[in-house]
């Protein structure tokens, strides 16, 4: 337990992790504050009802959290996975621990657990601050269930990318190769994936494309924030496009199954390789 706490503290003190968490939170908080203030000013005559304010807070809050955090948290996963495992493995620091009374498998699990705890704490704090802004501006917090759904989806993104970088460190030994391939995964799953699917939507036409987009999103660990947002909001593209999530393949069961696979698959493969290869 002492070891796990030390690893969690170490992860939370990592300057890159701190900088990324602060930057993302500030961006989300500022954007949400601005948009909510603007939305509220549009209601001046007649003034918004409490129900309208509550709906605004939740809709915009979830959209911004899903969008802003959804884009940045994969990087958080990469940084955490790198600092807690991949860097130590590529530089040989991990040997100073592996010669202790711990198995290779236990070491993988313990570092991944530290990553998960650190990520859960950072996300809780960041989303909590964002929620606080919604409360201050509108007088209402973001609805709890959608917020929890998006929180879990973001956690899937962090865990999957953290697991991926751990896995990559078992396939490539050089630090630069690990960083290069990790960055490629981020660009592919976060940026290329998103815009490629938008392009498909434009080419195919909205009716056919939405289902293609969301079904494809199950296969990218960076898109679970968007999937969860679409599920709880029934909108897409920051609320611009209304949709019926059930009819286009977005369901709780599929998201949970896909999320579990992405969260545990890469670290499972890491465990397999760690216990069978040097």
């Amino acid at each position: 337990m002492n070891v796990l706490l030390y690893d969690v503290k170490r992860a939370l003190r990592n300057p890159s992790v701190l900088a990324l968490a602060i930057l993302t939170t500030l961006l989300a908080v500022a954007l949400l504050g601005l948009i909510l203030s603007h939305a509220r000013s549009a209601y001046t005559n007649p003034p918004p009802t409490p129900a309208q304010l509550q709906e605004e807070a939740s809709l915009l809050g979830i959209d911004i959290i899903g969008g802003i955090f959804g884009f940045f948290v994969p990087v958080l996963g990469l940084v955490l996975g790198n600092s807690l495992y991949a860097r130590e493995r590529s530089t040989g620091i991990l040997d100073s621990v592996l010669c202790r009374p711990v198995t290779r498998g236990e070491l993988v699990v313990s570092r991944f657990a530290a990553l998960a705890i650190a990520a859960a704490a950072i996300l809780a704090l960041s989303l909590g601050l964002t929620d606080l802004v919604a409360l201050v501006v509108t007088g209402f917090p973001i609805a709890a269930v959608p917020l929890l759904a998006v929180y879990l989806a973001l956690l899937v993104e962090v865990l999957s990318f953290g697991g991926l970088v751990m896995l990559i460190s078992h396939l490539f030994r050089s630090t630069s190769a690990i960083q290069g391939i990790s960055t490629t995964f981020f660009v592919l799953f976060s940026i290329v994936w998103y815009f490629a699917l938008i392009l498909i939507a434009v080419v195919q036409g909205q009716a056919n494309a939405l289902q293609t987009i969301f079904v494809a999103d199950y296969f990218s660990p960076a898109q679970y924030g968007i999937l969860a947002t679409a599920l709880v909001q029934n909108t897409f593209l920051f609320g611009l496009l209304p949709l019926n999530s059930g009819s286009i393949g977005i369901g709780v069961g599929a998201i949970v199954a896909g999320g579990c696979l992405w969260s545990l698959g890469p670290v499972g493969a890491t465990y397999y390789l760690a216990t069978r290869r040097d």
Binding site: G92, S96, V97, R100, V102, D278
Partner: protein, 308 residues
């Protein structure tokens, strides 16, 4: 199951880093007993580091096993590692952690924590000569300080088995003396120590047995006293007035090579004082007489079949 013997034991151990690569270590069987220092000598690439890393559980074997006090380092890793401490040739620790914090963290893997353990960690840092550096980041340590820190980390949980890879590299003369004394002290306490070093004279000064590793194979593993007994020796004598009688006597001591006043006799029968007495009795003016023994370096190169 009760461990059969408290030793470091390799049994048919082989390790190849790639399918097409020559094994770094091949079919190795040897053991280090309690209260014994085994000196591991070999050229660069002989497989010494592979041997030590394998025993620490840092490398999986291609075949064979390594046991610590009877526990297989792969199948029973936790139990085997509890009895083990290793100092690698190039110690590599988390650079951003302070020395004391890192010892406390590593102690956590042994289930050690609390004030008593903290005091033990501080005492270890003092013992290895790092007093005043407890709060300093390990990344700022010199190579010698990292070696000292690695030694403290290795001794953290009072291991009975120690693996030391080129531990003297990077240490100053005071550090070398300290390590030598520590090794002898640990041996007296009953530790089994596997010591790899390029500095043969240092191995010679502490080891009970010498294992010669060459191209991944164990060529010899013999007690140091047996090496001493089997070493080639040569008697060198310089006589100012070498008479035929004296020359004849020296021929009876062993095969003689003569160059003017100097005689060299390989594997002589008798000790220096005996020969000297006989020479003086025959009226020889002995200017110089000494017995040259083959050193460990010569023994090593003779064993691997290469010229130094």
């Amino acid at each position: 199951m009760e461990p059969q013997a408290k030793v470091i034991a390799y049994e048919g151990y082989s390790k190849a880093y790639g399918r097409k690569e020559r094994p770094a270590v091949q079919d190795l069987s040897l053991s280090v007993n309690n209260g014994e220092i085994l000196g591991l000598v070999g050229l660069n690439g002989a497989g010494k580091t592979t041997m030590l890393r394998a025993a620490a559980g840092l490398l999986l074997p291609t075949s064979g096993t390594v046991r610590m006090d009877g526990h297989d380092i792969v199948r029973d890793k936790v139990a085997a590692s509890r009895t083990l401490g290793i100092v690698p040739e190039f110690p590599n620790f988390e650079p951003s952690a302070s020395a004391l914090d890192l010892l406390e963290y590593l102690g956590g893997y042994h289930g050690l924590a609390g004030d008593a353990f903290r005091a033990h960690a501080l005492a270890l840092l003092t013992k290895v000569g790092l007093t005043g550096n407890e709060g300093r980041k390990v990344g700022t340590f010199s190579q010698g300080m990292k070696k000292r820190f690695a030694l403290a980390a290795a001794l953290l949980a009072h291991p009975r088995n120690l693996l030391l890879d080129e531990i003297l590299n990077g240490l100053d003369p005071e550090g070398i003396r300290f390590v030598r004394r520590l090794l002898l002290e640990l041996r007296t306490e009953g530790s089994a120590i596997l010591l790899s070093s390029h500095i043969l004279s240092e191995v010679e000064s502490v080891a009970d047995r010498i294992a010669v590793l060459h191209k991944g194979r164990l060529l010899e593993c013999v007690p140091l006293k047996d090496i001493y007994a089997s070493r080639a020796i040569r008697l060198r004598v310089r006589i100012r007035n070498p008479s035929p009688e004296v020359a004849a006597y020296l021929s009876s001591v062993g095969p003689v090579e003569r160059e003017g006043e100097s005689f060299s006799i390989a594997q002589p029968h008798g000790e220096v004082w005996e020969v000297n007495t006989e020479l003086v009795r025959r009226g020889a003016q002995v200017a110089e007489i000494r017995m040259d023994r083959e050193d460990l370096e010569s023994y090593f190169f003779r064993t691997i079949g290469e010229e130094p």
